[in-house]
Structures are given as structure tokens and as C-alpha cells.
């Protein structure tokens, strides 16, 4: 008991030190962002196609706001394709400047705040996940008290990865609205992990409203609320229960996984409906004179699904649809958008249903590869969610190769763009090859993480089997 108390005391100290370090690093990242925002004027990050897509560009939002102020529909002219609520929130900020400085500084401030919020929420999510991991391992009998320190604080790591990821910093400073989209996704995950159902529903609705693809998070969120947090497969717990064989010890071998809680899930569905109706009413209010909800759906979701804008980005669709014949365009659109649904969502959900957070990560990673208009802001999100699973994914193979690939392709991308557009010595194939390589490495990354997770489960199974033998 004394040992346990000493361990607890040490752990508390360590936790305090950890949180102290975390706050130092996060404030340092904030200062770093402020430096980049306030000082240089000529970086012109907002014109980079990797950072600002037709959906996330702040310049387009400013244009949409100006159009609205001029009593025209904000969607006229195919400039702005985002949510009207975002327009009311961020629009006024793009107009008011600070003492003659460039108008978008206030907006950058909003993005820094949302980044910090996302980091804090990620940290809390990670802490919950870490607790569950530790508890489960203890219940499986694989963890003794002294080995607790082998478990990394995945919350802190994920939050710091999010804050210091160059992709996040670039998308925060580069005037794109992806920090807000990332915040919405992280809010929904946080709500589901801490079992705050209205918050999870709110996050899901806002994320889907801002960009269509987080709608796939419905599945992991329902699993999170129904089954509970990530845990090893239930079979392992049955094995240990067999091993113990004493009725009194049944409670200890219980997994943190719950039997599917229909009540919570129905509660979640109710809140999803409430928030979606609220958001739709608000949108129809603000777009009353300009065509209403139909216009909004056509211009936001329709724009996303039809891939109307074929300007280059780090995705793989623009080049293809620039060449596709008109009569086969619809066919290819359907194939590409449905590919994700059919081939990825359901099989993963079935295979990894005991790890809903991980499913969320994989869905987000795939949606950032197969999105209509991807940007590095999406990569920032899933890379930090990956860091939530450092404990399980320690044995990821080829991680160095993938890491180098990421860095290489991200650095080559502006070079190829310059060669193509500014110097004219390259052509679109240079840039598209880079995009294809980047997509390839993203696929590899996701594939390696999923196989590492499955291997981890296998290793746990082996370890519990050994323990049963012993």
C-alpha cells in the first residue's frame, strides 16, 4: 500500500511537471505564431494552393462578406463556398484592421485561439485515452505498478504535436479556415470521449457543416458513446476471466468497454437532430433573400461533391477531372466519392470497433487524402490524432521512411509549383507528380498505422495467452 502511495505521489509530481512543461511549450508556440503573423509581410502564404483551397481560403471569405454587405448573395460568382455562419463570424473581422495593418490580423488571432483550444481539448482527450489504456492493461494483468512510467502521456504529446506541427502553423498563419474545422472535429471527439453528448453532437454538426467529410465521424462517435473508449478486444478479457476463475475477481477483469449503450446513442442522435435543425434554421435565416437553403446546399455541398473548381492543390482529383470527358465526369465523380464509403468505412468499422478513436483517426486521414480540395490543414489534424496513439503504435514500421517522404514532398511542392507557374520550365505534371507522391505517402502512413495497431492487438493477445499459461 505504501508503495502504491509512493507511486501515486511520484506520479502526481510527474504530472505536475508534465503540465508545466506542456504550458511552457504551448505558450511558446503561440508566441511563435504571433511572430510569424505580425512581422513579415511578403511571405504571401495565403496564395499557396497547399494552404488555401476554394473552401478554406480567407480571401474568398472576405469577398463573400463584401458581396453580402453589397446586398448580393455571398455565393454569387463562385468565390465563396463555405458556411454562412462562418461568414457572419469571421466576415466582420476581415474588414476591421488594426491601425492600418493588413486586415486579416484579427482573423489570424481567431485562428491562434482556436489552435490553442484544439490543443487543450486534444490534451484532455489524450489523458482520458491514456487512463483507459493504463486501466485496461492493468486489468489484463500485463502491467505492474512500476511499469506505469513506460506509458507515454499521449495527451500532451498529441497536443504538442498539433501545436508545433509545421502544417498547423502554416495553416494558422496562412489565412485558411482549417483551424476552425479542426477545432470542430476535436470538439466532437472530446465530447464523445468525456461522454458529453451535446458537445459531441455539436462538434459533429459544426464539422459537417463546415466541410462535408467529417460526417463519416458519425460511426466512431457512436462507437465511442456506445462502447466506450479504446480498449483491447473483448476476447482477451474473457481469457483472463477464465484464468482467474474466481467470482469475486470478475469486476477487476471487466474491460473498460461497455455493453452497447442504446440510451446514450439515442441521446446523441437527439442532440444531433436538435443542432442540425438549429444550424439549418440559422442558415436559412441568413440566406433568406439569396435563395435560401437550396442555394447553400448547391454551392457548398454541391461544390464539394461536383469538384467544380479544378485549380491545382495537393490532392489528386484536379488533374484527372481536367482531362475527363464530360460524359464520363459524373461516373468518375460517383466512383471517387463512393470509393471512400464502400471500401474504407464499413470494413474498418467492423474490424476495429473496439478502438473507435483510432477509427476516427483513420477516417480523417482518408478523408484528407480523398477530399475534393485537400490542404495541409487536414494533414495537421490527423497527424496529431495519430500522436494520441503513440503507446499502441510504437512498433510502426518504416516510420522514418514515411517521415522523410512527408518532409520531402511537402518541401518539393512549392518548388514544383514555382517551376510550373512562375518560371514556366516545368508543367502541371511536375506538380501533380508531387501530389501523387504525397498521397502515396499518406496512404502508406495510414496503412502502417493500422497494421501497427493490429499487430499491437496481436501482441496483447500473445502476452495474455502467455500469462494464462503461466
Amino acid at each position: 500500500m505504501k508503495e502504491k502511495k509512493k507511486d501515486d505521489g511520484e506520479m502526481a509530481e510527474e504530472l505536475e511537471k508534465n503540465s508545466y512543461r506542456f504550458w511552457i511549450w504551448s505558450i511558446a508556440s503561440m508566441i511563435f505564431r504571433f511572430c510569424i503573423i505580425l512581422f513579415p509581410e511578403n511571405i504571401n502564404l495565403s496564395s499557396r494552393p497547399e494552404l488555401s483551397t476554394p473552401l478554406t481560403s480567407l480571401c474568398r471569405l472576405a469577398e463573400g462578406y463584401w458581396l453580402k454587405q453589397a446586398s448580393m448573395s455571398p455565393y454569387s460568382g463562385s468565390m465563396y463556398h463555405g458556411s454562412p455562419l462562418l461568414l457572419s463570424l469571421l466576415g466582420p473581422l476581415t474588414v476591421h484592421g488594426i491601425e492600418g495593418q493588413w486586415n486579416h490580423h484579427l482573423c489570424s488571432l481567431v485562428f491562434v485561439v482556436s489552435d490553442i483550444l484544439s490543443a487543450v481539448l486534444l490534451r484532455a482527450t489524450g489523458q482520458q485515452l491514456e487512463k483507459a489504456y493504463r486501466l485496461n492493461l492493468r486489468r489484463l494483468g500485463l502491467l505492474k505498478a512500476s511499469r506505469d512510467r513506460g506509458i507515454l502521456p499521449c495527451g500532451d504529446i498529441a497536443a504538442l504535436v498539433y501545436l508545433w506541427n509545421p502544417f498547423t502553423i502554416l495553416s494558422c498563419v496562412g489565412l485558411s479556415t482549417s483551424p476552425i474545422e479542426n477545432l470542430a472535429v476535436i470538439v466532437s471527439l472530446y465530447g464523445a470521449v468525456t461522454r458529453r453528448v451535446p458537445l459531441a453532437a455539436f462538434g459533429l454538426i459544426m464539422a459537417t457543416h463546415l466541410s462535408l467529410y467529417p460526417a463519416t465521424l458519425v460511426i466512431p462517435l457512436i462507437f465511442l458513446l456506445g462502447y466506450g473508449l479504446d480498449a483491447p478486444p473483448r476476447k482477451l478479457f474473457l481469457q483472463t476471466r477464465d484464468r482467474e476463475g474466481e467470482p469475486g475477481q470478475d469486476k477487476l477483469t471487466r474491460t473498460t468497454q461497455l455493453p452497447f449503450l442504446w440510451k446514450t446513442v439515442l441521446h446523441f442522435v437527439f442532440w444531433v437532430l436538435v443542432w442540425s435543425i438549429y444550424v439549418l434554421v440559422l442558415c436559412s435565416l441568413s440566406l433568406k433573400q439569396y435563395g435560401g437553403l437550396e442555394e447553400m446546399f448547391k454551392r457548398t455541398y454541391g461544390f464539394i461533391l461536383n469538384i467544380e473548381d479544378l485549380s491545382p492543390n495537393i490532392g489528386v482529383f484536379w488533374y484527372f477531372f481536367a482531362e475527363a470527358f464530360d460524359f464520363s465526369r459524373n461516373y468518375f465523380l460517383i466512383v471517387f466519392q463512393i470509393y471512400m464509403f464502400l471500401s474504407i468505412l464499413l470494413p474498418l468499422a467492423r474490424r476495429l470497433k473496439h478502438r473507435p478513436c483510432f477509427i476516427a483517426f483513420v477516417y480523417l486521414a482518408f478523408s484528407s487524402i480523398l477530399k475534393s480540395y485537400p490542404s495541409v490543414g487536414d494533414a495537421a489534424l490527423y497527424l496529431s490524432l495519430w500522436a494520441l496513439f503513440v503507446n499502441e503504435l510504437t512498433d510502426m514500421k518504416h516510420s522514418f521512411f514515411i517521415f522523410c517522404g512527408y518532409i520531402g514532398f511537402s518541401l518539393l511542392s512549392p518548388v514544383m509549383h514555382n517551376l510550373w507557374i512562375w518560371r514556366g520550365t516545368g508543367n502541371a505534371n511536375f506538380y501533380y507528380a508531387n501530389a501523387m507522391g504525397y498521397a502515396c505517402f499518406q496512404f502508406m502512413f495510414v496503412e502502417e498505422s493500422v497494421s501497427a495497431m493490429l499487430n499491437h492487438d496481436q501482441a496483447l493477445k500473445k502476452a495474455t495467452a502467455e500469462m494464462t499459461k503461466n
Binding site: 453528448v197 451535446p198 458537445l199 433568406k288
Partner: protein, 388 residues
């Protein structure tokens, strides 16, 4: 059977009145010089003089189609390079800084001319080479060169016949490419060129009758060739006295041609033209003087004010239609009231209509939306802290 007759009457009345119901909105000029070679200097000078006049009186370059062989100004035999004169006193250089030739050299062919008139171009033909007139246009078509009985010689290689021209004009009328068309021809036996015309709204004048020649005015001994034709010379003499604000009528222009001075009879044909020549100002064709109505507001006032001003002068039968419109509006108001009283019975729809009315009265939708977003965030935080 009766219905058929009614329909036919309607159609004919439409066809009859179609020329009257459109408003004169713009002026176009198609100036064609059909000769090339140095000894036909005077034809190019004719066309360029008319180009200058038409531009001076207000038609912009974008509404002038100028077809010239354009081989005079830079001809090796031209003692005054890059200069074209229409008078031996060399006072006026017609080939100044801003001559925009749309069809030059070998592009001046019968085919291109007919394409310009009918508007049937290939896709690649630029806008500057197209006659983009509409049903409110007045077009001036001036042709000069060598002609004969029912034909006009184009560039020494082909000819345009009078029935070709009549066919093209008929197509133009069908496609409503002009409101009124004035054809002015300065060639030998010019009046025969518009013998075959039948389309209404066309006024034509030629410099000579069948069997007569049109003569040049004088020879410039410096340049070595005749520099202008008589008909065009006297036309220009009439126009040089005018400026853009003058109200001279076509009648005065036509009366100014003296057969003894022209050494031919300038014959004009008005049987296809409904209006009296005394009432038509020359700037209707030779210039571009438009009636401008100044409004301060954006676009709504346009149609009503035009109809108000035009009702009295040109279109007397539009007045009852406006009154009809007013009656229709009044009638339209009545059924909506009836509908309203019916809807009041159902409380749900009444609530909705009240809500919609309130929304329409709300001027500041933006603040409402912002407030609602703030409310939403507060509710989220409150509910998530309460419900775990």
C-alpha cells in the same frame, strides 16, 4: 376555320407592326469600296471620306464596318505616302491616325460582304468584323466602285448582283437585323443595283440611272488620278456644312443633288420606306445622335420612362396596354387577400405567416444570426456541463 383566320390576322398584324414597335437604339455603317489598283484611287477616297463624315457625326469605330482594298496609301505610286486626299487642295488627309479598316485587301469579297450583312460568320471571326446590329439598328450601307446593269464589280474578280443584295437584305429583315436600312451606291448605273429590293424599311439612293455613268469630279494633277467622284463630292459638300447637332433632313440631302452638276440623275427609292423623308434627320443614318434619358436610379426607371416618352410620338397603340397592366395589377391584389382570409383559419399557417412577416420586417438579420450563434455556444457549454 375561324380560329385559323384569327391566327392569320394576328400574325399579319404582328408582321405589319413589328417595324413600329421597336425603338431605334443604335446606328451602324457598312462602308464598302469594291475596287483596287491605283487608278481607282477615287473609290477609296470616296469611302474614306464617308468614313470620316460618319465618324465625325458620332458613329464609333466599333459600329463601322469598313471594307477597303487599302492599297492606295502605301502604294509605290503615291507621291504622298500614307496620305489619301479627296480634293486637289490636299487640305484633308483622310488616312489619318485613326482609320480602322475591318476588311482589307483580299478580304473584300462578295462572300465576306454577304456574310457581314447576314451575320453568318465562322466561329473564329472576331467581333470587330461582325455586323452586330439588332432590331433597333439603323444601318447605312455605302458602296462605291465599278458597276453596271444590276451588278457591282468586286475587286476586279467577282461581281455582286442585285438579287444577291436583295436576298441578303431580305435575310437581314427576317433575322431582324435592322430597323431601317439606307443604301447609298456610287457607281455607274447605280440605281439598278437595288431594283430587286422588296423588304420594308429600306431606303436606297444611287448616283445614276440605268444607262448613265457616274463621273469623277476632278483630276488631281499632283497625284495623277482622279481623287473623288461627283456624287460623293456633293454628298460631302452637304455634310461638311453640318455638325452633330444639326437637324437637316434626308429630304434636303436628296434635294441637294443637282443632275447638271452630277452629270447623272441621282435616283432614290422610297416605296419601301414608310416615313416621310422630311421628318427623318440625316443623323439617323449618317451619324449617331441618340435620345438620352438621364436617370439617377439603377435600372428600374428605364422601361417605364421610355414607354412614357415614346407613347406620345411613335407608338399610339401602346397606351391601352399600360392601362391594361394597371388593371391587371389591381385584379391580382384581390385574390391574394382572399387567400389570406382562408389561411387565417389554420393557426399553424397563420403562425408561419406571422413569423415570415416579422422576419421580413427584421432589417438586421446579421445581428440575429450572430446572437443565435452565441446562444448556441452558451447552450452547448451549459448542456455539456450539466449532462454527463
Amino acid at each position: 376555320m375561324k380560329i385559323l383566320i384569327l391566327v392569320m390576322l394576328l400574325c399579319s398584324s404582328f408582321a405589319f407592326s413589328s417595324g413600329d414597335t421597336t425603338i431605334h437604339t443604335n446606328n451602324w455603317a457598312v462602308l464598302v469600296c469594291t475596287s483596287r489598283f491605283w487608278f481607282n484611287y477615287r473609290h477609296m477616297a470616296n469611302t474614306l471620306s464617308l468614313y470620316r463624315t460618319v465618324k465625325r457625326l458620332g458613329i464609333p469605330d466599333e459600329r463601322i464596318i469598313l471594307m477597303l482594298a487599302d492599297d492606295m496609301a502605301c502604294n509605290a505610286r503615291n507621291e504622298y505616302p500614307a496620305q489619301v486626299f479627296n480634293n486637289e487642295n490636299h487640305k484633308l488627309n483622310l488616312y489619318g491616325d485613326n482609320v480602322e479598316v475591318d476588311y482589307r485587301g483580299y478580304e473584300v469579297t462578295v462572300e465576306n460582304f454577304l456574310r457581314v450583312l447576314t451575320g453568318r460568320h465562322e466561329n473564329a471571326v472576331p467581333r470587330s468584323k461582325r455586323l452586330l446590329s439588332d432590331e433597333g439598328s439603323h444601318i447605312l450601307l455605302y458602296m462605291t466602285g465599278h458597276g453596271g446593269d444590276e451588278f457591282l464589280k468586286f475587286q476586279d474578280a467577282e461581281e455582286l448582283q442585285s438579287h444577291d443584295l436583295a436576298d441578303a437584305v431580305k435575310q437581314m429583315k427576317e433575322k431582324r437585323r435592322f430597323k431601317e436600312l439606307m443604301i447609298m451606291v456610287d457607281t455607274c448605273q447605280a440605281a439598278t443595283l437595288f431594283n430587286q429590293l422588296q423588304s420594308p424599311g429600306v431606303l436606297a439612293i444611287g448616283s445614276s440611272l440605268k444607262g448613265e455613268n457616274s463621273y469623277s469630279h476632278h483630276l488631281d494633277s499632283d497625284i495623277g488620278v482622279s481623287v473623288v467622284d461627283r456624287f460623293t463630292y456633293y454628298t460631302l459638300a452637304f455634310f461638311e456644312r453640318l455638325n452633330i447637332y444639326d437637324n437637316a433632313s434626308l429630304n434636303s440631302l436628296f434635294r441637294s443633288y443637282d443632275p447638271r452638276q452630277l452629270m447623272s440623275t441621282a435616283y432614290y427609292r422610297t416605296d419601301l420606306y414608310q416615313r416621310h423623308l422630311v421628318e427623318v434627320p440625316v443623323t439617323n443614318f449618317f451619324g449617331s445622335v441618340m435620345e438620352t434619358i438621364h436617370t439617377d436610379s439603377a435600372y428600374e426607371a428605364f422601361s417605364s420612362r421610355i414607354s412614357d416618352s415614346k407613347i406620345n410620338s411613335d407608338m399610339p397603340f401602346n397606351q391601352p396596354s399600360e392601362q391594361d397592366l394597371k388593371e391587371e395589377l389591381q385584379n391580382a391584389n384581390i385574390p391574394s387577400d382572399k387567400l389570406k382570409t382562408e389561411k387565417e383559419k389554420c393557426p399553424y399557417t397563420q403562425m408561419r405567416t406571422d413569423f415570415n412577416e416579422k422576419l421580413e420586417k427584421l432589417e438586421n438579420v446579421d445581428t440575429v444570426v450572430n446572437l443565435s450563434i452565441a446562444v448556441m455556444v452558451v447552450v452547448v457549454i451549459v448542456s455539456s456541463s450539466l449532462l454527463r
